[in-house]
Symmetry: C2
Subunit: 330 residues, 2 copies
């Protein structure tokens, strides 16, 4: 069917071995190399990657398994990972799990069957514990979410400190009754919750936390409930971009405004947070840096499989905008 290395060899009047060497950068006389290149051009030869991988036993491919491809945080990370991988001569298989443990398991198995070189992975809480049992046949670098035990390299945000920052900022601006909204699928939700609780206690306030599904709808429903029940707090902290959007939607639907009726702060500096109302105060994550670091950790791990585990913790930056203006200033 398609043209194989044998056809090229025949056309160039050399052996398949020589063609392989000429294309793979081996030692070949300039004369034969030219013949081979001409033959390649003439026949329109394209190497068969399956055959190459089978024989050489290296896939030159990494898997990138993210929880939600429509979340700007992950697309940002993906972009950085892809750029770095490309520089290192590696291909990337991008997989989207939608926070579903079943799909995570499916993709991890697929990665084994593809015999990938390594995997960068943002697991759900469910899988993170399961990962510790069955050891896959490739190194794994966790991003965004890490295990407590820490059996894999990881790069994460300093979630505890970031949540603290938000609480302190709101406290400084005069807000006292502050509810925290956290995603229940990931470990980041827990860490941010812990930072929130610690900071609240530290300034002498009573923490009120809600763990909900990581979706716009769940957050919107939760916050809308506060309006209906007339139990609106002074401020809300949303643990990620989806929850943040849900909170904003609920506010708009109720015909209210931030910060007059409810101060809002959250995570993920998505481009729309700048454009809604007076702008939303958020923690900006160093997205590209996370992707680059994950790739670097993976490459180093491949180089040195027995090196000690490493967990890189990056700091977030608080972008203050109008949604947390000083209380009563309006």
């Amino acid at each position: 069917m398609a043209v194989s290395i044998k056809d090229v060899a025949a056309a160039a009047g050399v052996s398949p071995a020589t063609v392989s060497r000429a294309l793979g950068g081996g030692k070949v006389s300039a004369e034969l190399r030219a013949q081979v290149e001409a033959a390649v051009k003439q026949t329109g030869y394209r190497p068969n990657l399956s055959a190459r991988r089978l024989r050489s036993q290296e896939a030159q491919t990494i898997g990138l398994i993210v929880a939600d491809i429509s979340n700007p945080f992950f697309t940002g990370v993906a972009r950085a990972v892809e750029d770095e991988a490309y520089k290192a001569g590696l291909r990337v298989i991008l997989c989207n799990t939608d926070e579903s443990p079943e799909r995570e398991a499916m993709y991890l198995q697929l990665m084994e069957e593809e015999r990938v070189t390594g995997v960068i992975f943002s697991p759900t809480r469910t899988t993170v514990t399961k990962l510790m049992r069955h050891e896959p046949g490739f190194p794994v670098v966790l991003i965004d979410r890490a295990e407590a035990g820490g059996r894999h390299d990881a790069v994460v945000l300093d979630n505890f400190a970031a949540a603290q920052q938000l609480v302190e900022h709101l406290y400084d601006r005069g807000y006292r009754r502050i509810i925290g909204l956290f995603g229940n699928a990931s470990t980041t939700g827990i860490e941010r919750h812990d930072g929130y609780v610690a900071a609240m206690r530290h300034v002498g306030l009573t923490p009120e936390a809600r763990f909900i599904a990581p979706s716009v709808e769940a957050a919107q429903h939760e916050v809308a409930g506060w309006f209906r029940a007339n139990t609106l707090p002074e401020a809300v902290i949303a643990s990620n971009g989806l929850l943040l959007m849900g909170a904003v939607r609920a506010l708009r639907e109720a015909g209210r405004e931030t910060p007059r009726d409810l101060a809002i702060a959250g995570f993920d500096n998505e481009s729309w947070t700048e454009l809604t109302g007076p702008g939303l105060t958020v923690i900006e994550q160093p997205v590209a840096e996370i992707g680059r670091t994950a790739m670097r950790l993976l490459l180093e791990r491949l180089d040195e499989p027995r090196a000690p585990l490493r967990k890189v913790v990056l700091g977030g930056r608080c972008m203050v905008r109008g949604s947390t203006a000083a209380r009563g200033a309006t």
Copy 2:
């Protein structure tokens, strides 16, 4: 190294052929099948996809090459494609070109080397003409953007009609001086431009179109220029989500408001368009439907390679929001 089908065969006391048949759904006695399954479990066997693909000559994999993975339009399409592919037992390799013809060429070549079953592709204008020369070794379904000549199946929005709709809507609301902002990388920009011009002429207005790079920054810069030069129109139509965001940003930076100072309408019903200012009037594209249809066309093409070409044109829906409230109503 890893456990192969021979190891399983040895463990089960059968031949490799039998193992292959047992796993592949061939005819095997219940007894042996049970032995094989036990052996698979015991040895932890995972088939090697490279070997399988090499021998069976079918990749069971499609490539999905999109122009911008951080654009919600494409993530929406990708999600639908992935779901459908999964149902059909196909894997998906997702590639992001960032509207770069070089990366497009690179990925198309990669797809050839992977010997993929087929490709779904949103090409730049540059590549769409080049595609017509070199015929790749797999069927291609174009999405979002199609060739004029039409050598490949395609599924696109009715861009002409959608742009018309926006112009008519703005005209009805009392706006007269309407500038159109179009992306210069894709064929959609051209089609939307044509619809805009036709509709403007039809109602007796003078079209004023600008072709710019498909980025937030380019649009922001363009619109900001209008403020500086004091040549602000009454309304602007932005040809996609990025340009729309640029226009909104420029407006905010100038401290102005929509629709009082400038009416805004555009394409792509991204979730933030609902949350900014009084909401933005946009054309909603049937994202999931586009993905599903593309996958269906591809499967049908694989089934019937010689069937006549098909181009599916889907209609958009106009979501009217506050950014195009009747002129002077405020």
